[in-house]
Symmetry: C3
Subunit: 461 residues, 3 copies
């Protein structure tokens, strides 16, 4: 079976200057979810009909797909399918057609529809011309209604605005995903005339034509009616994003992770939780993040493309990006570990500390108000409060290194490029501009002067 | 048509020492929402009945309204309307009466009620004595039920506790908003007797009296039954605040802005989003904030009375207050831009940086751990990590200025009042107490001393 | 009446290495909620059946309970009750049996069930053998159904998988909480045979046996059907945690506190709000926290075991732990007040400030980027931006003290142990290593050198 995804639309109601199907849902384009579902079902070939902002789509999804161009942006869904006629004209099998703005579709449902086709063929000896995904909605307003005859065959699909009062009472609605038998689709689609009102060729017109020819069309009711939700407005997108989010969260919870206030938590689809992870409210796990067993992610923390090993703790309101947090480390609260950093085993990066492109060894402490940039820090180093690794000289960035067991006193400044030796001691408040040998103490400190009664004078007089 | 808002109540169940209707919903008093709806409908005159904590209300809403005082705080709604009798006794038209604790009322609904009055007069030749807003509730428990005769006229409104078992089955309930024909209201209201139980005069008693006199009373069912929700407890307030919040969010989404996890986002009613804005979860936009096209507000950030120009990015967990963020600037994560600040075009205020009453020109970088207070910074200045503008000398605040392209080395201290020239260079760790001419380098740095083996001694012995 | 809590299960579907009933819900083990409900009802004695990870449970709950050990971890609920046979064999009264994974049970419901037993005995002259808590569910799938005879007596409880199609239509389901008349329980339970499929002895088998003996069993429908929810998976746990959370929030709102976006707020069960508290979204109040009248907790702030006196304000994104915030103080935004600290009356701890094991007197200001550790600070002290109390020398921690009215200039470093006198003045950027007498000024400042044109050279050439 082949699959065709309609993603040429402009998304007028979406009020966008970009392609609607490229808008991100949990960090991935809406269309990505549709294509992922198709990939899981394992179609022979998948093609996309593109039009509006086609390049954006092709750049993102690349060579794995065939692309067909719909030249008339207002041609309608039937015209879109015709645009890809090379893809299916000579195909003597079924073609799945789905809208690119239906990211809730489940592979499971598509497989069940495929099975249904086989069953009908086997047991009833009928080759269905089309099988439509449908849903039973308590309030079908706005959806195309599925009109059936007494044997349950689909007679036609009528849009809301063209439905008679009786048809409006029908609660089974069109889900926008179809399996078409290509020879019959070809026959019917050529007969569809553009709507006199809008000039669009509606794909859904084929069902009535098929029925009139004597072909059989059936509908297949989705188990979960939310699956058919499409995204027309940004509000729809928010609703759909929430539904996808909850699916992901429930899955991780059922695999043995604790998620508090799941409605507030954001986990993107490629994140992995290895078990016994505890995630507090408003945590946001993005990209290719991977959390080891027993990891705790505190309230509101953000991990993007991070690897966090077993038992590490991300305290509340920390941001970790493109970095590696090793087993047993503690990050935060209010810590910012930026791109290309490593926080070593059992190390602690504390509040108001920024780490950028730096590696920290084991048992390093940098607990307060520091900036560690472009540095390589060995095991057991203690970085005091207010320490700054001055990596920028106004023109370019430089590297620093700190040897094992060194102590960097508070409020001191290490001016890169610099090398601080093992077990060396940087006295508090110093500005270090020379390399420090192993085991030495380094200090820059002016004479302390006490001026009698001058304090009281400045403050009270 | 005139409007009368009842806002004299004590809100006993609200357990408050202040006036209930003055409690904030999304930063505005509950009563503000009622008055805004009336303003949109464009009433001739609007009056408020005040009593408990009257001054608080009058101070806030000022001279745009007439105020009438209800002297008996436990007089009841009928007594409240009587307290304003000067306002409507001689008025030969309709008077809208609404409770000040009904902030969900929509102007649209009021307009529809007005149209209904006209239609009835035109087509049925009847002048209704009263038209009540009502709602159909699946569970009407706790609400006054609307009892009607066979022609659909309102016979009376019965409170829950006085309803017969049959009346309790009625699902149409009183919405607490009425249009009264003043001459008939006058006639009926004078006949109402105080409740023997509570001593209160209930306004809803007039409907039965009107009916008995042969006058016609009708009800008007709200499209959206949530509209009639009143606020009796703080829990009600939380529920109502959420509903108003979602209305605002849906509106901004449908105008072409992306809002993730909208249930978590807080946007106050006077905020403006200019389109293609992307708002992440837990963002909070307050007061008169205005966000330009393409602005991104990261997770959890708070903007209060801020202007953020096109394409600027507020990274997660930043707070911006009474400030101006220019196009393309980046603020945060973990930045705090306080009152009266400007962050210039393409400038970057980074993590753990506080900016207060300061202006930053174009392309300024202040990316780490700094305090910039009472300063004026020209274009292309680089402020290192740990820099402090010392604006306070123990008695008063002073100003600083930094010229174009200057470099302020990390951990240095600029003691205000001070003037740092253009393209000057402040060496890291310096304490600057004198003005620095353009192009010069300034440094305060003690001699660096290395003491052999002293580090190892302090750390390991 | 005695109570028996079944908490021996392994929680296979929970996918845990720990005891399921010990997993925290709002910071307390699931089982704690069950035991608290029983404590409020005031049972004579309460016993727990433990098995899997028994020590964890006994360590936490201690000597207030009797413990019985179920040796067969797969023995089933009937076997669990038999494991505690010493507890109830000779008891001639009722025994409450409840699962330890049912944390939503309300004391109110248990009391009503007890009253019902009395009423039946008094008015019908019957001693019920068992009274089951039940619920009416629109969708009973997955629950045991309660089969009754025409007089309303329970005939049996059938599990989903053994129910006939007719039985599956029953909407009244077993709530997993029972009051048993011990002599009848003894008689019936010994007759129950292990399930041929699973080898487990099911407690629910006793009802059919009781009915067959001619004993009477009734069910008692919970007012709120959520009460019977048990926790089988982590997703269930998230759902149950949310329900408990909302109960707590609604209670505090109704007592006169304002809670914005309550669905986002986390208040643990032992926290106290004294009234007129205003809590913004995502606030998290943990442990034994107590908030005085009029306290404001800003968006996202976390208070754990904190005492916050009347009128104090916790600004957004602050973390307060095991500390005391006195009346009128302001903490935050972005402040971190750690263990054992006191922030005095009207003091202000501002952004990016960490306070650890320190006490601040009245009217202290520490508003920017500071680390205050192991310090005792008297009234009216001003701590500048970037100040660090260097409490660690590489080996041990030391104390500091600052006298009344002292001024600590920005970016200065106080090297502990140290004593700064009253009304003394520490000049900005100083490193203080000696005690400073009252009223004096102290300074360490190298000579300032200006090097002509060197800045321009470094930056532009």
């Amino acid at each position: 079976m082949r699959a065709l995804v309609l993603s040429a639309g402009m998304g007028t109601r979406f009020r966008s200057e970009r392609s609607k199907v490229m808008y991100p849902i949990l960090g991935k384009p809406m269309l990505w979810y549709v294509l992922r579902a198709l990939k899981e079902v394992n179609f022979l070939e998948t093609a996309l009909v593109v039009g509006y902002r086609a390049e954006e789509i092709k750049d993102y999804f690349g060579q794995a797909y065939l692309y067909f161009h719909q030249s008339n942006p207002k041609g309608g869904t039937g015209d879109a399918v015709l645009s890809a006629i090379e893809f299916w004209r000579d195909y003597q099998d079924y073609l799945l057609v789905v809208n690119g703005d239906s990211p809730l579709i489940k592979p499971h449902t598509i497989r069940n529809m495929q099975k249904y086709l086989h069953l009908v063929q086997e047991h009833e000896g009928i080759k269905l011309s089309a099988l439509l995904l449908s849903a039973q909605l308590p309030d079908p307003t706005g959806y195309g209604r599925i009109v059936k005859d007494q044997e349950g065959n689909v007679v036609k699909v009528v849009e809301e605005k063209e439905a008679t009062p009786e048809e409006k009472l029908i609660k089974e609605v069109n889900g926008g995903l179809y399996l078409f038998y290509c020879p019959h689709l070809l026959e019917a689609l050529f007969k569809v005339k553009p709507s006199p009102k809008t000039g669009e060729v509606y794909l859904t017109e084929v069902f009535q034509l098929m029925h009139q020819t004597g072909y059989k069309v059936r509908s297949f009711v989705a188990e979960d009616s939310s699956e058919i939700l499409g995204v027309n407005t940004r509000w729809d997108m928010a609703v759909v994003e929430n539904l996808i989010r909850l699916r992901i969260l429930q899955e991780w919870a059922e695999k043995g992770n604790t998620i508090h206030q799941p409605e507030s938590v954001w986990i993107e689809p490629e994140v992995v939780l290895e078990g016994e992870v505890e995630v507090f409210s408003n945590a946001m796990l993005r990209g290719s993040t991977r959390l080891g067993r027993g990891v705790v992610v505190g309230k509101g923390s953000i991990v993007e493309n991070g690897t966090v090993e077993d038992g590490a703790i991300i305290e509340p309101y920390s941001v970790v990006k493109n970095s590696f947090i090793k087993a047993g480390a503690v990050v935060g609260p209010f810590a910012h570990v930026r791109e290309g950093s490593i926080v070593g085993k059992n190390s602690h990066v504390g509040n108001f500390v920024e780490v950028k492109k730096s590696s920290l060894g084991k048992d390093v402490k940098a607990k307060h108000l520091s900036y560690i940039g472009d540095a390589s820090i060995e095991d057991e180093v203690n970085v005091g409060a207010g320490v700054v690794f001055a990596n920028f000289d106004g023109k370019r960035k430089h590297q620093s290194s700190v040897g094992k067991g060194a102590f960097i006193g508070s409020n001191s400044l290490l001016v890169a490029p610099i090398k601080i030796g093992s077990y060396s001691f940087v006295a508090g408040g110093s500005v270090i501009t020379k390399d420090v040998p192993d085991g030495d103490l380094v200090i820059t400190r002016p004479k302390l002067r006490i001026i009698k009664d001058k304090g009281r004078e400045k403050l009270l007089d």
